[in-house]
């Protein structure tokens, strides 16, 4: 007997979008589906088949985040034109939905480490490139032309502290209308070169300017260090942090988090950060499966909601999942943030911690869908700056906006205990936790990319959304242009792709056997201009 009953699909169809084939980087149609309360992105390449990846581990949280979506701000200039559509025209093209909250300048490809996990595919490599001071000046000018007054530029690499002109480059940034410089580093030089740390400290003290350290910091287990960084850096991190504290520098601990490796260390990293005098924030980034990384399963990769739930499980006395709010400047599922006020050291009697969202109704200000009017626009503006990709502790902007947000406590004149004033004082000791899941060639969703507000500034004067830069082929294109050495498109080291992978010279993976001539960045197969007959 034939079973004639119709069956339901096992998933809810949520979005139709575009992505790329992770193997050949051609633009393909994609769909986002909810299955078993998780959100997946699926796509099919005519040549390489079907690919699926987990993009959010908590479907309700994903849907709820959509309200926290701010109208984008148009940058002063665009650097490219719309020709082939997103993500082939970066950037920024006039179709981009948001200005650059954060500009990144990679000053080199060389690094004093050869980490098994590195989205930039950097290391001790003879055929990379370093930018010159002149090129850096031009890149900063492009950023300023686009932003007017920019909040923050990040120097990255490679390892920016081994560039011999890094201080000169910081000086160039500080001489321009860029409020803050962030130095993204593994900390090796900070641990050993106290004169260098002191030089950063001097620059941090310039009026109206700040220099903050974005310190790679993945956890405390030796295994974490060996598997993510290739060597035990624990003592080096400790010395780097102590030197930063001595120089008065503000540090963000940045953890690359991989499932089953260091995802049990989230709570310990936060606790350590609250205790260390130099540390004012922690950033958790699920390992970006672009560039070089260990083999992973795209269907069980870590996402933002997994990090949120992990933090809550590990520190249930301090956090609930709804203490974290999506960031409205980018696409709200890309990044979540919370702020804490704390006192004392964890483990001591006088320790207390209060997540700031419990003091006020953040959604009354940052839910742009429900709120036609908000109670106080100056509070909304403050919260927008706090819940932003440009928010870094140690900057004047954040201190000022924490103080302004205290106005939402709405009892300034009435309070016997002036709570807003008290919170403003406490903002000196406020602590930020950021969770950011960068997209990779598996998870790339053009919808999110179009509103990306973290841009790579390239030597040829483009601003390329960070996840496009890492996933679509722009990183390889720029490295090839700058070094003069051919660079094949990097393919994720994903379990399902193992049969087609071979090694690149830098430790990442490329599609094995052949290397097709590059037909421009991400040629589009979704709209080939043909009618159906």
């Amino acid at each position: 007997m034939v079973d004639s009953a119709k069956r339901d699909r096992d998933e809810v169809f949520l979005e139709y979008t575009k992505s790329i084939c992770p193997v050949c980087k051609v633009v393909v149609d994609a769909q986002v589906n909810v299955r078993d309360d998780k959100v997946y992105l699926r796509k099919r390449c005519r040549e390489h088949g079907t690919f699926e990846a987990l993009v959010y581990g908590d479907a309700r949280m994903y849907l709820d985040a959509m309200r926290f979506n701010k109208p984008g701000t148009i940058p002063l200039t665009f650097q490219t034109e719309v020709v082939d559509g997103c993500p082939s025209d970066c950037g920024l093209c006039p179709e981009h939905k948001q200005h650059a909250c954060l500009g990144i300048i990679e000053v080199n490809t060389g690094c004093n480490l050869d980490c098994p996990i590195c989205f930039a595919d950097s290391g001790h490599q003879p055929d990379g490139y370093s930018i010159t001071v002149e090129q850096c000046a031009k890149m900063l000018d492009v950023f300023v032309a686009s932003e007017g007054e920019a909040e923050v530029v990040m120097f990255s690499g490679g390892e920016p502290t081994i560039h011999r002109d890094i201080l000169a480059m910081i000086d160039l940034a500080q001489a321009r209308p860029i409020k803050s410089v962030n130095l993204n580093t593994n900390g090796i030089r900070l641990a050993s070169d106290r004169r260098f740390v002191a030089a950063l400290g001097e620059r941090d003290r310039l009026p109206g300017r700040s220099v903050n350290v974005y310190l790679q910091f993945d956890g405390f287990d030796e295994r974490t260090h060996r598997e993510i960084r290739g060597r035990d850096l624990r003592e080096i991190k400790r010395r780097a942090l102590d030197n930063c504290a001595e120089a008065g520098l503000t540090v963000t601990l940045v953890a690359a988090v991989e499932r089953g490796l260091n995802d049990h260390e989230l709570g310990a990293i936060i606790g350590f950060g609250l205790e260390h005098p130099a540390v004012r924030s922690v950033a958790f980034q699920p390992v970006t499966h672009s560039g070089r990384h260990v083999q992973f399963d795209p269907l069980t990769r870590l996402t933002n909601s997994d990090i949120v739930h992990g933090i809550v499980e590990q520190l249930p006395e301090w956090f609930r999942a709804d203490d974290f709010f999506p960031v409205p400047c980018c696409f709200p599922t890309c990044r979540s943030i919370t702020y804490l006020l704390s006192q004392g050291s964890p483990g001591t009697d006088d320790f207390a911690v209060v997540p700031i969202p419990r003091l006020l109704q953040v959604e009354d200000y940052l839910d742009y869908v429900s709120n036609r009017v908000v109670p106080d626009y100056s509070v909304r503006e403050a919260l927008e700056k706090l819940w932003s990709a440009s928010a870094f502790m140690g900057t004047d902007t954040i201190t000022e906006k924490l103080t302004a947000a205290a106005g939402a406590l709405d009892c300034a004149d009435a309070c016997g205990v002036n709570l807003p004033e008290a919170v403003a004082e406490l903002s000196e000791r406020a602590f930020m936790i950021v969770i950011q899941d960068f997209q990779d060639p598996y998870t790339l969703n053009v919808k999110q990319l179009m509103k990306c507000c973290v841009e790579e500034i390239t030597p040829d004067g483009r601003l390329i959304p960070f996840c496009a830069y890492n996933s679509v082929g722009y990183r390889e294109q720029v490295r090839e242009q700058m070094s003069g050495v051919a660079v094949a498109d990097v393919v994720p080291n994903a379990t399902p792709l193992q049969p087609v992978l071979s090694d690149s010279p830098y430790g990442s993976k490329v599609a094995g056997g052949h290397r097709p001539e590059r037909a421009g960045i991400a040629p589009d197969r979704t709209n080939v201009g043909r009618s159906v007959r």
Binding site: A352, E363, N418
Partner: protein, 285 residues
Amino acid sequence: MTLADPTPADPTPEETKACCAAAYSSDVVAMLLGDSYHPGGLALTRHLADQLRLTPGARVLDVATGPGRSALMFAQEHDSNVCGVDLSPGNVASARAAAAAAGLEERVEFTVADAERLPYNAQSFDAVVCECALCTFPDKAAAAAELARVLRPGGRVAISDVTADPAGLPDELCSLAARVACVADARPLAGYARILVDAGLEVVLTERHDDAMSRMLEQIEARLNVARMIARPRAEEVGIDFDRVGPVLDAARAAVDRGVLGYGLVVAARPAGGARAGRIAGGRA
């Protein structure tokens, strides 16, 4: 919330009312809740407004308006003409300033007045709102009668309020200070519905929003923790007893979990035909 207890144990109704108005604009409660705070925040106020069937230009009365945030929202989002009344001159002054800042003086006015003696003619409003306040009024029947009196036939009144089952409330939550903070004299949702029915209105909707109460308790706790962190001596001077805070909040949370403490919304209509006897027409309790 027995956090401060500034008055004798057995106040007269007048004392209670004066105390309520004073407390809502005074240090401790303002610090705990914020002047304009009510459970559910803007989202619940919006939901409440959606039940009023407001048409542009409707005349809306906001009773116990505080610093007027909801009143301004009705004007901005529903193009209403709003009168807000509050017993506290300080609140009324703040509300007027907020209206001026929003450029809404033409459409929103604020007056110092008592809910039990509203300075308005009968049938002069299309809708009447009272958020998180009825529970603090000692003579709820008199206040409800006033809400009904100023409402036109066919118009709607919406109240949101703390709900409590008096028999189930623990002792910690029953003093005057708790009454001021909207607990001890709160009624079950059906009790509020009955008060409106007795005032001649027809109940069209009742809803529980107990999550809003949980959220408010969390907000109080967070604010108290901040006060303790940085200004403990000063906070104790104005009457906050940190040793009692924990048990009181725990008792309140347990009461929410047991369903004897919560928050609710009741919407009622004045019968178009001017019928005197109200009734409860089905709701979602």
